[in-house]
Symmetry: C2
Subunit: 499 residues, 2 copies
Amino acid sequence: MAFLSLSSFYPQFHTPPLLSFPSPTPTISKPTIFNTKSLFLNSNTTTSLKCLPTPLELASHCVEEEEQLLHHVWRKIHGSDDWTGLLDPMNPLLRSEIIRYGEFAQACYDAFDFDPHSKYCGTCKYSGNHFFDRLHMPAAGHGYEISRYLYATSNINLPNFFQKKRLRNVWSTHANWMGYIAFATDPLEIARLGRRDIVIAWRGTVTYLEWIHDLKDILTPVYFGDDPSIKVESGFLDLYTMKEHRCNYCSFSAREQVLADIKRLVERFSGEELSITVTGHSLGAALALLSAYDIAEMGLNIREDGEMIPVTVFSFSGPRVGNLRFKLRCEELGVKVLRVINVHDRVPSVPGIIANEKFQYQRVVEEVMWFPWSYAHVGVELALDHRESPFLKESGDVRCVHNLEAHLHLVDGYQGKGRGFESAGGRDVALVNKSCDFLREELGVPPRWWQDENKGMVRGEDGRWVVPERPRVEAHPPDTAHHLDKVLKGGRPPRLESR
Amino acid sequence: MAFLSLSSFYPQFHTPPLLSFPSPTPTISKPTIFNTKSLFLNSNTTTSLKCLPTPLELASHCVEEEEQLLHHVWRKIHGSDDWTGLLDPMNPLLRSEIIRYGEFAQACYDAFDFDPHSKYCGTCKYSGNHFFDRLHMPAAGHGYEISRYLYATSNINLPNFFQKKRLRNVWSTHANWMGYIAFATDPLEIARLGRRDIVIAWRGTVTYLEWIHDLKDILTPVYFGDDPSIKVESGFLDLYTMKEHRCNYCSFSAREQVLADIKRLVERFSGEELSITVTGHSLGAALALLSAYDIAEMGLNIREDGEMIPVTVFSFSGPRVGNLRFKLRCEELGVKVLRVINVHDRVPSVPGIIANEKFQYQRVVEEVMWFPWSYAHVGVELALDHRESPFLKESGDVRCVHNLEAHLHLVDGYQGKGRGFESAGGRDVALVNKSCDFLREELGVPPRWWQDENKGMVRGEDGRWVVPERPRVEAHPPDTAHHLDKVLKGGRPPRLESR
């Protein structure tokens, strides 16, 4: 049996890394490590998959562990020490939090109407109050509620990012649903987390990677602050800052939507401990970094008493966003970024193939030569390799290699550099194939299985099949302009429309 | 607006044809004819579609009409007069019955697991007692129940007919679900129909038309009776008669399954008026004709008192099946066949392109020259043209043109030769796109929308996504051998395995 050779990946049973936090409750139960080898010893893979603990079993196991810990150590998990000592060996709590935030980003795909034949193409399929319920996320969303949805105009120079709508009578010719802002609302969850967490999740695209070719690789000054040398790729900046006055959903730019809502939430929860966590995959990861930087640059995370609310980005397969000055400014502002990548994915290598953070003289090139194609990644990298997972086909195509669920699977199995793949969290491997064909066939999981019954067509009481009308979602909370005004008046005058 | 020119198809509003039956209740309400022109005058097609009466409204309308009629005239509807005078202009009752039987055939597609990645590939997705409920058929199945499922072995020379299973651990490597036998069970439906109807429905294939190339075009003696000059295409005969002793589902051939069950049902309902209606699409139409002939040839439709139970085939896009002698023998036996075709579909022209019923000297060629490639269609043809429908794209690809739902849509709009398309029955046009992309885009119906939620994956109580186990369906009713034995002993000795 070919799979027996996989045992060569696991020369020994790894002793699970003990948590190294200075925890007030230092007795930590040993995390269960599941040996994936056994999966392939039995030809009936469905049965053998059941040998793994279920998410519920794991959840109860993890809850126990996390309740002792997360509310104490969440600042470290959010990068207060730049994840020093947590990545190799991989810290189990950090692992589960990376996965949880990755699921918030994955929710943007699972809820998005990609179908170019749908008149709702470009929208979110669910209304905000049912959002997390409909998505069956193993970890994300429990105890959170949606604060608002985020929209961007498609009238920008990233034509391949937006779905081509086939119909004329669509909900909007300009707007696209780009993600959401949510916040922890359940007291138990807030207690577990150790603070009230605010999440911003940005949608990327799994289907079309062609948007990479649209990147003009031209850096443009951001002007969120007053330093003209801070620059980002112009396509990302456009997506984040452009608005479209003819369209209700884009009458505020994505940027304005974020700033107004963060302002509102930080004020609303003024007496509470807070965190702002921004996440996204692919192009969504670029928006995550840009918006996190923006929030910090605008000082929205600085409270009246001067206390700083941590702003952390969990980014998945993200491209480079800005230049070296941008990176340094993010660091100055205390924006913490953990970048999860698959080493075989091309997206994190663009833009900036010519000059990037690996180039010794980047600062000279940028500052002296004003070289406009020099990019720098921000933050700490967690580099994964899909070839380490015995569940995945070795040669996934570019879309598989870039797929977010595949990244979450790899995080789940990551123990540290050269420590092999062991599914410590027991995350359901079937999720990998939601929207790609990356799992080995022996596992019997259909490829691209995440689909709506009858493409959303339903048989009405009159017996006819129709695409049901979706309730019109409010474009913006009514107090958006009000809070935006406060942002404008507070501190430095922001340049809200960058160009 | 381009669609205004469609009005040229409809020079006048057609006076609906009055029913010409010598009915005991001659006051017939005028069937409503819906003018499809209006559909395209409004750019919001979804709204305008709603102007059509709903199937429920129509059902109540039709029920009224049919209750007066169908139980009196069902023998004519079933071809006792070879449909003379019922096809041009199109008789509304016949139209609704053709559609109803077409839906019985369509059910074989809608319920079939085509997914080569499924371990249940080749099976019916639903168990018999939920079959019709799960399919939401507008007309078929109400008041019927499944008597048995039909299976055939894939170990025959029609390799492109069967789905290629990608997995090794599949439910059966040999068997394929081929359709079902059902019978009317609801007293109201039996009263409406004027008899207890027994339906045999055969599955064809919508996905792969490649099986046409597998037809060897070789005629083989059937030997269901004792005349060796009655011949049919050998691939069809194999599919119908071959069995596979290693496989529980194919331990009886499809033929034996049919004969035993018809014997059982005719005995069970010995005191009642009965009809045997056989239907199928594409290759399923070939099996429909072959099995109908078989039942009649075996005398299963002849009661002890000599009364003949009508055997009628409603066939859709069927190929030719046998030679001229086969056709003549079907006629001798009183098997009535209504063949519904789309004139742009290639399947009804095979096999027998060289010599067929249109060839004046076919009898000479067959009987004198023993020419083995001479085929004859059986029965009465109802030729439709998809270009008549303003709802369909003019140049549908070969699969659209062959599609069964598209045929039912055309039947619904058919008024008679050169009488234009008017949706008299108001059948839901959205059904056309169930498994093809044939509707004009303006209608806003997604192409190929008939699909299971998450490809049948469900999230178990433990949180994991799995393909749920399907209950093993009984391969054959326990008394199959018993009834088959009766068939063998009754009347002429049949040659059950033809070769």
